[in-house]
């Protein structure tokens, strides 16, 4: 239950961190808030030769609004700071709503936005939320910077498109369109635990309250958060009536192919995935209807 030995570096500047990543590559692990990595080190599920602690890179702790209504969040922004941010609450209330679902406040005091995304736990909220919002991830290495779309970022179980020499520096969230409603629903054993299954939805309504665009993302039910394309298509052109939502929920239950583990059976996850989809869509429709065009 104690970490194995490692070399420790705490760079003071981003360039310094990138040089270290370039030098050590796969031998190194980036330590941000440590709320996932520290347990992995203590359990010796991870035994990196080098730890690059980025907590001194204060330039990466920003939360910024863009003139077009978008939001930029530095990878090192603490989850608690995002939870308390007025800008986030106004410009991206879905993110604000997801924050209290992450662990407990002691964990969010340390845990970072970038850390949760780079760790890519399939049952975590932020990867699913970023996929729903079609966020963009900025990664940097000594060779330069590139942006990765959320749909290309999460590759599998705790695996992302970040190369060993790259550092996640920023998350960009596009501006919310008018008449858009959102919701996040999850079932966990205890408040603050990882979700056994969760659903994030977003609906965009046209003038007569009909859905013209939607996203339905399920997390905790596979190797990574996934959009359920057939359910999204089914919802198009629908208004919020019980029959339509039940049909969409059924499609989610049918299309999920989750695993059974100690937390829940596959059958349970499929069923609950459908139930949560219906609840989330009801809430998302309600929110969208309140928005004016």
């Amino acid at each position: 239950m104690k970490p194995a030995p490692f070399e420790y570096f705490a760079p003071q500047a981003i360039d310094e961190a990138l040089k270290l990543l370039q030098k050590y590559g796969e031998e190194a692990k980036v330590l941000a808030g440590g709320q996932s990595l520290m347990p992995l080190l203590s359990l010796r599920l991870a035994r990196p030769a080098v730890i690059i602690d980025i907590n001194r890179l204060r330039d990466l702790a920003f939360i910024r609004s863009e003139p077009d209504g978008g939001l930029r969040i530095g990878a090192l922004a603490r989850q608690r700071a995002v939870e308390r941010s007025g800008q986030v609450a106004t410009q991206c209330p879905l993110i604000a709503a997801a924050m209290p679902l992450i662990g407990h406040f002691q964990i969010r005091n340390r845990g970072t936005i970038g850390g949760s995304l780079a760790h890519a736990d399939p049952a975590a909220e932020l990867p699913a939320v970023s996929l729903t919002l079609e966020a963009e991830f900025v990664v940097r290495s000594t060779r330069g910077e590139r942006a990765i779309a959320a749909k290309d970022f999460f590759l599998g179980y705790m695996t992302t498109a970040i190369e060993p020499s790259e550092l996640l520096t920023e998350i960009r969230i596009p501006a919310t369109r008018p008449r858009v409603g959102w919701a996040i629903e999850e079932v966990a054993r205890r408040r603050g635990d990882f979700a056994m299954v969760g659903v994030v939805t977003l609906v965009e309504l046209n003038g007569n309250d009909t859905c013209q665009n939607s996203r339905i993302v399920v997390f905790g039910a596979g190797e990574k958060p996934e959009r359920v394309a057939r359910a999204e298509r089914l919802l198009c052109g629908k208004r919020t009536d019980e029959h339509a939502l039940a049909e969409v929920a059924k499609a989610v239950t049918e299309d999920l192919d989750p695993v059974s583990d100690v937390h829940a059976s596959a059958e349970y996850r499929k069923e609950v995935g459908g139930v949560l989809t219906r609840r989330a869509l009801q809430n998302a429709f309600k929110r969208a209807q309140k928005e004016t065009a």
């Binding site: 104690k2 070399e7 709320q35 520290m38 347990p39 203590s42 602690d53 406040f105």
Partner: protein, 158 residues
């Protein structure tokens, strides 16, 4: 191959300088290097909350931080709550409400509650319950703990 680093931390108002191995967690550092054994270690992977302390005023799990990361920080542990023989109001409330039996989880609950009440001095019972949801108790039960925190917040309890 491990690296050693000299760190300076202020714990409960007292400054310490020590040479530490990078892999030592802050909790082990407090207990083994500074002999501040009031901070308890339960799960050692961020689940039970027993090792909660304050780092620069915010509640954190000291098992999920390295001691080297605390270089330059101000820490408050359970040993820093009482003023001499006089218990902190939270500690007194825990005693009054029988909010501890074996006491193993108590330091973590006290530090969690301390940080929580600083931010929310007049909480509702629901808020108290949510605030302690990241701390596990295996014998007393949570009801007396909730009552104790409400008592410390100056709310009447039955």
């Amino acid at each position: 191959m491990s690296s050693k680093h000299t760190i300076t931390v202020t714990v409960n108002g007292k400054s310490y300088e020590r040479l530490v191995e990078a892999r030592v967690t802050l909790a082990d550092f407090l207990r083994n290097e500074l002999d501040l054994t009031g901070t308890h270690l339960g799960c050692e992977h961020g689940v039970c909350g027993a090792c909660t302390i304050l780092l620069n005023g915010e509640a954190v799990r000291s098992c999920s931080l390295l001691a080297v990361q605390a270089d330059g920080a101000e820490l408050l542990t359970v040993e820093g709550l009482a003023r001499g023989a006089e218990l902190h109001p939270l500690q007194q409330a825990f005693q009054d409400q029988h909010a501890l039996q074996c006491g193993f989880c108590t330091p973590g609950f006290l530090m969690t509650a301390y940080a929580f009440l600083k931010e929310r001095p007049k909480p509702t019972e629901t808020e108290v319950r949510e605030a302690i949801s990241g701390n596990l108790c295996r014998c007393t039960g949570y009801l007396p703990i909730v009552k104790a925190i409400l008592q410390a917040a100056g709310k009447t309890t039955t």
